[in-house]
Amino acid sequence: MTGLFSALTQTEQDALLLSLKVACVATAASLPVGIAVAWLLARGRFAGRGLLSALVYLPLVLPPVVTGYALLLAFGRHGPIGAMLEPLGIVFAFRWTGAALACGIMGFPLMVRAIRLSIEAVDLRLEQAAGTLGAAPLVRFATITLPLAAPGIIAGAVLAFAKAMGEFGATITFVSNIPGETQTLPSAIYSLIQTPGAEAGVLRLVVISVIVSVAAVLASEWLSQVAARRTAGR
């Protein structure tokens, strides 16, 4: 693995490390929000639930370039949210943080869907039983719902991570393709494809992509099995 890594050019190494960083940050930052939204959609009874659901799933059906452009409008230097955050030192435009934001949003529907399904599968009667044992609603959520939904939460997180590793359209639209700053693995592959004589580099990055993806899927399988064993009740 280290041998393979040192065989990469500096640009290629940067792209891989950046992609891993972006995907980790995107997944970690969106997970709490994803769990909260999934819970609202699974258990909430409020006006606007349908609207929230549509909004969450929108990035799944919109062309990624549209999502990226919307992010640029909202979070760009002169966008309403971007302008508000800039004095606080939070900048997304043309930064790796912007790539993480774009990747997080693109992976969000996948994450929410997996978690929502697993929360819906948690037997409400168990939560009710926990209630009669004196557990307050938040305690119930933390001690019953969350552990029982764990396999789905892991699956959702891995899906979001994999999506972030491969996200291209929204990222390149929002934060461009700056080597060392916003050039993720897919962006780097795209640049190399455009470069005459860089076929070897393309192949190397494609192999890396496949390895990372397969590793993520295997890791999620294993984690889900561990979690499922814990919740199976045997």
């Binding site: 009710q128 004196g134 029982l148």
Partner: protein, 356 residues
């Protein structure tokens, strides 16, 4: 501790109309399935909000529509053993039992884990996961879990459903033991006369969402609607007596001023016992048939004669012991039975139920 429930609730086509006031330690909610027993239990536990009424345990008001009080279920401190054990599958038995303690729901006066395990025979199960337990074991863990939250009332909703005969007997003995060891009062939901007659200090009869009686078992089953509420084809009588002695597979009971023989009961002399007598199993004779095989022959006065779909229902008074007999019209005519007449009641069979 007193239990007061007055509740009206509309749930779709179903209407609940409950009125209970008792301070008995063992209350049985009795009725056919669909009578609203579980609904009423859920109202007490705070899982269903009634439209109007009042629920109070002791001086603690849990719900009062007039005063705007509605304590959430998790603040009511009512242990609930549901029809299904509802154990938490991701926690082992020990963690299930201690759930209330860990989640901050157990009162300081909750019993010790060791005591509850000893009472319910749970020591060997502590490290197992719920998925590997048998039905009876899971039920016992659920009861233990409810007890360990230190509840002010324990609701047991048909806890014997789906268990075979031996397990039923064993678990019923545990529940019986529970109440007689100074544990919390019990609200026991059942459609079984046997279980009800065995456990109840007070029976709440339910029919079509209404509570039609709230009285000691003998009195509750004398209610005119008891038969239809219980889904019986003939009325029953519950007799309360005391064990005198055992002989050769039979137990002799004192029943008021009389002796009474039943199949052997697992009780010590002096202990109270209840027996259930089906009105069809009480035959009538005008003279004492001493040459009959029937052991229990009570001299009785006919207190009332009522028409019944199965013939005529005789309400008998045998020296203070009230008994019902169902006879055909032809038989009543042949024997010229009339109110105030004296007869011999021959009790052919009894279903026994004990109270510990």
């Amino acid at each position: 501790m007193s239990l007061e429930v007055r509740a009206h609730a509309r749930l779709g086509d179903f209407a609940l109309d409950a009125d209970i006031a008792t301070d008995a330690p063992r209350v049985c909610l009795f009725g056919r399935s669909g009578a609203g027993k579980t609904t009423l239990a859920n109202v007490v536990a705070g899982l269903i909000r009634p439209d109007a009424g009042r629920v109070a345990i002791g001086d603690e008001v849990l719900f009062d529509s007039a005063a705007g009080i509605d304590a959430p279920a998790w603040r009511r401190r009512i242990g609930y053993v549901f029809q299904e054990p509802r154990l938490f599958p991701h926690l082992n038995v020990r963690a299930n039992l201690l759930y209330a303690r860990r989640s901050g729901g157990a009162e300081a006066r909750a019993p010790a884990l060791d005591d509850v395990c000893a009472l319910l025979g749970l020591q060997s199960l502590l490290d197992r996961k719920p998925g590997g337990l048998s039905g009876g074991e899971a039920r016992r863990v659920a009861i233990g879990r409810a007890l360990l939250s230190g509840p002010r009332l324990v609701i047991l909703d048909e806890p014997l459903t789906g268990l075979d005969g031996a397990r039923r007997k064993e678990l019923l003995a545990y529940i019986d033991l529970l109440a007689s060891r100074g544990g919390p009062p019990i609200l026991y939901v059942s459609h079984s006369i046997e279980e009800t007659a065995r456990l109840a200090d007070v029976v709440v009869l339910m029919q079509e969402g209404r509570t039609i009686a709230c009285a000691p078992p003998a009195e509750a089953f004398d209610h005119p609607e008891a038969e239809s509420a219980a889904g019986l084809t003939a009325p029953i009588t519950i007799l309360e007596g005391r064990v005198l002695d055992h002989e050769a597979g039979a137990t002799r009971l004192s029943l008021g001023p009389m002796d009474f023989q039943t199949p052997r009961l697992e009780l010590e002399p002096g202990e109270p016992a209840r027996i259930v007598v089906d009105a069809r199993d009480v035959a009538i004779a005008l003279s004492n048939p001493i040459d009959s095989s029937v052991q229990n022959r009570l001299h009785a006065r006919i207190a009332a004669i009522e028409p019944h779909t199965g013939g005529l229902l005789l309400r008998l008074d045998a020296q203070g012991v009230r008994l019902k007999s169902l006879v055909t019209r032809q038989a009543a005519e042949r024997l010229s039975l009339a109110q105030g007449g004296t007869v011999f009641a021959l009790i052919k069979a009894v279903a026994s139920a004990r109270q510990g």
